[in-house]
Symmetry: C2
Subunit: 229 residues, 2 copies
């Protein structure tokens, strides 16, 4: 049975990027609809009452479409419906570690680092809220350094963030970091192990579409799509 797959997303949204990476790694083709979510379009609210992206719609050749709302629901569905390659590990301990880190990046990292930076660099531009506040940017950048140090420590003994295998934890972390990197705000030089990890991710085919993203009026940093940065 053939399936038509549509992802409603925003190119510079870390949550959307996690889903694009998982779809890419599983080689699942999809059509993209870029959504100006901050304008609260009715089509989006009709699909997802929370008004949040990403939303993935799978329409089989027969039967009703399956509407998947919110990152974690989409990622969990993709693991269940398309288990190869596995992106959560097979052992309970591996899965628990990957899921611990998913929450880490989607809550703690966003709360302490990316929330500050992306509000100042993206949301204020899109919503015309004025110039970035330096105090907020500084707080976000300080938080970012703490998180990069945490990653640096984890990656001393591990090939990937959750252990020996690539997992959704790597996609969550790199999705968040890649948007900050678009603005050139990741101090890679001071975190060499994290930088090597990011180079490995950047060179995977699933990452290529993210590196091609451009948003009008927001130019990326020079090294953004450079695999050897």
């Amino acid at each position: 049975m053939s399936v038509e797959r549509t992802l409603h997303h925003f190119p510079l949204d870390p949550a959307s990027r996690q889903v694009r990476l998982a779809l890419g790694e599983k080689r699942l083709p999809f059509t993209e609809v870029s959504v100006r979510y901050w304008e609260r379009p009715k089509e989006l609210t009709r699909l997802n009452p929370s008004g949040m992206i990403p939303v993935l719609v799978e329409t089989p050749s027969e039967g009703p479409p399956l509407v998947l709302c919110e990152t974690r629901a989409i990622l969990d569905y993709l693991e269940e419906a398309y288990p190869e390659p596995a992106l959560l590990g097979r052992e309970a301990a591996d899965r628990a570690e990957a899921r611990r880190l998913l929450t880490w990046f989607d809550r703690k990292f966003e709360f302490e680092a990316s929330g500050f930076i992306l509000h100042e660099k993206i949301e204020k531009r899109l919503l015309r809220l004025g110039a970035p506040e330096l105090a907020n940017l500084r707080q976000g950048r300080d938080g970012l350094r703490n998180h990069l140090q945490m990653m640096e420590d984890l990656l001393q003994d591990r090939d990937w963030l959750a252990g020996r295998r690539l997992s959704l934890a790597d996609f969550a972390a790199s999705a968040h970091l890649s948007v900050i990197d678009y603005f050139g705000d990741v101090p890679w030089r001071d975190f060499p192990t994290a930088k090597t990890w990011y180079m490995k991710l950047k060179s995977r085919p699933c990452f290529r579409p993210l590196l091609a993203d451009r948003w009008p009026g927001l130019a990326p940093a020079g090294h953004y799509d450079d695999l050897d940065f």
Copy 2:
């Protein structure tokens, strides 16, 4: 193989309550450790570097303990390790709906309603931050009414929040609401369908331990443990 199970939690924490409800519904016995998480105890940070509760530790009679950090990781593990009774539904659409609502309550409900109310009513007491700010409480209560209306609408056509069967979505919603209800701040009278739904949940055996919770210096509202409120 026998397993020793310990839950590190705080009685009035909505995230911890979700896990207690799932453990209760699956009839999985556990030892409780009540954690004063706001004091950042080292034992907790050693188990979970984010310093967040809940943390579930399962120690088998042989082999290393399994440490499960963060609500979603624990709930996902319990579904995988103890699939009966199923708390996520079996069909992809049911699972997607339950998971959509999990994110709704853990992010949107917390951001728009419970975050305001519980910060003013619990955190300020525990952290000795002074009296509640009425403007914050009002904003939280307004948000709460919007969310109760959303539930009221959903429950017009459904027995449970995600559909025909009890699911983790009901536990997420009732865990959040039950803490607000401890303080008597849920306007049940104006939302009769949601009230009936909450009565059904309250009368389940898994809910009893929550209704017995008391925290020194914070007395519950008179109807808190009343099954016919």
